[in-house]
């Protein structure tokens, strides 16, 4: 079975042809990251989640945050739910862990700016 994918690793957006039965052999990729992406996307797709949390005592009311690793695509809304109740206080340095080890699999929510 052949599958067509758009690689989302970088903005190039290569059009990939993936032979599923042939150990996810990839053509159409312009770099080696496309090979890893194709297999992962068709077996266990993952995404980085970016959002904001409430911050007190700063120039803005929202602190941008992200998962420091990709999480399973089907866990994205769970991450959002966790962030709903988080409140932090300024000052925060970029990279600071805001929520540690969210699913017990070493993925942390980190601040994506200093504020």
């Amino acid at each position: 079975m052949k599958k067509k994918l758009v690689c989302i690793v970088c903005p190039m957006g290569c059009l990939l042809d993936v032979e599923v039965e042939n150990d996810y052999a990839v053509t159409g990729n312009q770099c080696k990251r496309g090979i890893g992406y194709a297999k992962k996307e068709l077996t266990n797709p993952t995404r980085t989640v970016t959002s904001t949390v409430k911050i007190k005592g700063s120039i803005h009311d929202r602190l941008p945050v992200k998962t420091d690793k990709e999480v399973s695509k089907n866990k994205v809304f769970e991450v959002m739910k966790i962030l709903d109740s988080v409140i932090v206080t300024s000052p925060i340095k970029v990279g600071t862990i805001i929520v540690e080890n969210i699913f017990g699999d070493n993925v942390n929510i980190v601040a994506s700016r200093s504020m």
């Binding site: 989302i8 957006g13 059009l15 970016t50 941008p64 992200k66 809304f77 970029v94 994506s112 700016r113």
Partner: protein
């Protein structure tokens, strides 16, 4: 009147990169004028990731990308004015700005760098029939409300235009609990990056209606409903109408370089890019005034803005040191079949470095074609292209050795 070597107008990605590069090249008498209360520009509200793959070889969010440059800027000693608005630039390189601390100030510069970025086309730019209720706003405005201020502007959302900000906001509002009913694009292809179609729309089963547009907006005070129809070459096809009950319509219908003060200064704009016409040093038609970043032409990626602004910064520093007026013969770049614009628009052959980078956009989607570069009708180079689209900026690198002192260099799709 205070005199500076360089005054930079705008503290987003272009202004930051230009300031740092000019400083690194030996010029330290610099003033950076910024309208916002902090540095970083629009990157600060672009909290999604995908920035920095070229410049830092890692994937960053917008605020992280900005912070790296803000940190570098803090290391160097230049004058910075925040919450200050430039009201006029004069051809003799006087700059007028105003802020609440100093009032009205005029300064003089040997060189000016325009890095004001761009603005979003809004509902005034397109004529949608129907009412004018609340609930219609640009995607970038909704992004600022949500990511900076923490307000979700609506619960049932439709997006007109498939530009990247609209796609990013489709995902962002979905994550925050809104229902995004669809994205309509009047053209038969998307105006955004392919990866954003996948990770922002397909991931969340948001339909993309290509060759569709909004034919009516309905609502007394607040937006209630829109009608969407299929179009054939911009003409509505009768009987294809769909209705969507929504409270919010986001517009992602294009970005326009912010050149009001440039035009008043007498800077000539390219009607296609809506940015200044520049040469290989990013100098405009007014000697000593340079432009880079989205004020020059709208880029797809901030990494390209940074690279361009660094190149411009080097040239600005060189100009300030030499104060030389360029009197070499000018070669014009010409956009032929299939090309909508090329930047820079002019070059001085004698001035060229070993390699020159040209940026261009195509007029529509092309598959398996070639870019043909000609100098006064003589073919210089052919470059095979598997896929090109207007949403994706193309880069062509030409060596000085391959160019002669042609009058016109043209690029076309064949």
């Amino acid at each position: 009147m205070k005199e500076y070597d360089v005054v930079i107008v705008g503290g987003g990605s272009a202004g930051l990169a230009a300031a740092i590069e000019i400083y690194k090249n030996g010029i330290d008498n610099i003033l950076l004028i910024v309208r916002d209360q902090e540095l970083g520009g629009i990157l600060l509200q672009c909290i999604h990731n995908g920035f920095g793959l070229k410049v830092f070889k890692e994937e960053l969010t917008g605020p992280e990308y900005a912070e790296r440059f803000v940190d570098q800027l803090k290391e160097i000693n230049i004058d910075l004015r925040l919450e200050s608005v430039v009201t006029a630039i004069h051809p003799d390189k006087r700059i007028e700005y105003v802020n609440s601390k100093e009032g009205f100030v005029t300064v003089k510069a040997k060189a000016i760098v325009l890095t004001m970025g761009c603005y979003e086309r809004n509902s005034g730019a397109i004529s949608i029939p129907g009412n004018r209720p609340a609930g219609v706003l640009t995607a970038g405005t909704a992004q600022k409300y949500l990511n900076i201020d923490g307000y979700l502007v609506g619960k049932r959302v439709f997006i007109l235009g498939s530009g990247d900000i609209g796609l990013i906001m489709a995902r962002r509002m979905t994550l925050e609990g809104a229902k995004v009913l669809g994205v309509a694009e009047i053209l038969p292809f998307s105006g955004g990056l392919k990866r954003n179609i996948v990770q922002c729309l397909e991931d969340y089963d948001i339909p993309l209606y290509l060759s569709h547009t909004i034919t009516e907006i309905i609502g007394d005070n607040n937006l209630q409903k829109i009608k969407v129809s299929k179009v054939d070459n911009f003409k509505v096809i009768p009987g294809t109408e769909m209705e969507f009950e929504i409270d919010t319509l986001l517009l992602s219908i294009g970005l326009i370089p912010e050149n009001e003060i440039s035009e008043r200064a007498g800077i000539i704009l390219d009607p296609k890019t809506r940015g200044p016409i520049v040469d290989e040093t990013y100098q405009t038609n007014i000697e000593g005034i340079f432009a880079c970043g989205n004020v020059l032409h709208v880029h797809d990626l901030v990494d390209f803005v940074t690279e361009e602004s660094r190149r411009a910064g080097k040239n600005v520093a060189k100009y300030v040191k030499n104060q030389e007026v360029n009197k070499n013969e000018i070669t014009h770049l010409k956009s032929n079949k299939g090309i909508s614009y090329i930047v820079p628009q002019t070059i001085h052959f004698d001035n060229l470095e070993e390699k020159t980078e040209f940026f261009l956009r195509v007029t529509s989607e092309f598959k398996n074609v070639e870019l043909v570069i000609k100098g006064d009708q003589e073919e210089i180079r052919r470059i095979k292209k598997r896929h090109m689209a207007p949403a994706e900026m193309e880069k062509v690198i030409l060596t000085k050795a391959s160019l002669k002192a042609y009058k016109i260099i043209s690029i076309e799709v064949a």
